[in-house]
């Protein structure tokens, strides 16, 4: 009798352990539901996303630039892009933009890197300009990502544009500096 009870107990434990292993190996249903769907984009071609239509119209770069009257430089390179975005059903508050290297390292438009859009009315196209500072040696194989919501990319899809920056283009960008005379901050904090 005791042996039967022990056997039943062991069987229950084994089934529970097996269930745990199977559960751990299945994807989290919430992750699956909220995952961002990536859609390949082509420069200057419109792409229809869940919350907006987007056309990435221009890509360029510079070592330093004047931004809203303020001179800003970078230890890397500023990647600058323009895009036309038409929000579909709701206002575009602040789009998400980032550069992603093939190994997953990501430079999002936060802090000094930013995206600005003219207006955000559903149905009307708005012009956006973004700039993201990245290490120049990480641009090979990198992509530009644009999505509708800066704070949350869940339940959304995302435009993914391969950058395909050539070495010549990169060297041109690294040599390009806005005139410091235009800047409000000719002197930094260095001695």
């Amino acid at each position: 009798m005791n042996r039967q009870r022990l056997g039943a107990g062991a069987l229950v434990l084994a089934v529970l352990a097996l269930g745990r292993v199977v559960t751990d190996r299945l994807p989290d249903p919430i992750d699956v539901l909220t995952a961002t769907v990536e859609r390949p984009a082509t420069l200057r071609e419109p792409l229809s996303l869940h919350s907006m239509d987007v056309t990435i119209t221009e890509l360029t770069g510079a070592k330093s630039m004047v931004n809203l009257g303020t001179y800003e430089t970078t230890p890397g390179v500023w990647l600058v892009f323009t895009a036309q975005i038409t929000p579909r059903d709701r206002d575009l508050v602040a789009p998400y933009a980032a550069i992603r290297a093939p190994d997953g390292m990501t430079w999002a438009a936060v802090g000094r890197s930013q995206v600005y859009c003219d207006s955000a009315i559903p149905g009307l196209p708005t012009q956006c300009i973004g700039r993201i500072e990245v290490p120049p040696d990480r641009l090979t194989g990198a992509s530009l990502l644009i999505s509708a919501n800066r704070n949350n990319q869940s339940y959304e899809d995302m435009a993914v544009l391969p950058l395909r920056v050539t070495e010549n283009e990169l060297q041109t960008w690294l040599a390009r500096t806005d005139d410091r005379a235009l800047a409000l901050t000719p002197e930094g904090l260095e001695p």
Partner: protein, 233 residues
Amino acid sequence: MGEQAAPEHIAGRGWLRRLGSWTAGRPIAQQGAGLLLVGLLVSAPFGGWTSTAPSGVRQVEVGQSITTGPLELTLLEVVESTRPSRVLRAQAGGTLIFVRGTVRVTGDRPVMLGTFGDSLRLVGIPGLRRFVGLPGAPMPADQVKPALYYTEDSSGMSAIPPGMTFPVAWVFERVTTGEDLPAALTVEVSGHTWRESGVTRGLFDWFDPTPLATTQLPLRHKPPVDDSGESSG
């Protein structure tokens, strides 16, 4: 003749003796549990079994690299100025104190102000306040978070992107107290731990700033610059 009560100290010993013999008669498991309980009660006034304050704060040299978890820092000097660049100036009656150095993110995502604002403190400097461009009351030095600026262009940083080394200044403001600053200032650097949030499931981030290292940095006075960007001193 009535029974005379034992003196107080003799009665106390008798109580102890009875407790001792009662304890000796208990099973060994109960004795162990009792010992554990007594130990916990005795330690309670000293904080119980909570972890003790970190004792691993190390002293580092000027320019020596410090890895805090999310960041790799080097600290070079402290500079005091009322207007160190065209765009940065102290409020009237104050000076800016900034720690010059470099910062680099160790991971593959940006590190945000909420994290790196806790990475550095000036120690024991009276009259400090946060540099937010507005008047404000001084606070204890260990509560004053610095603002971070990229020194090449004096632009504020609310995020540090990965993969690049930034020459930076951690900027504090100090209300003029009439006391001169010492020739060398102590800077405390805190580290963070990467762990899952206790509130939001699945959210991993850098938490728990803990003092990690201190360094003594020389102080330099920088004359204020004028509108052309030239130093007036």
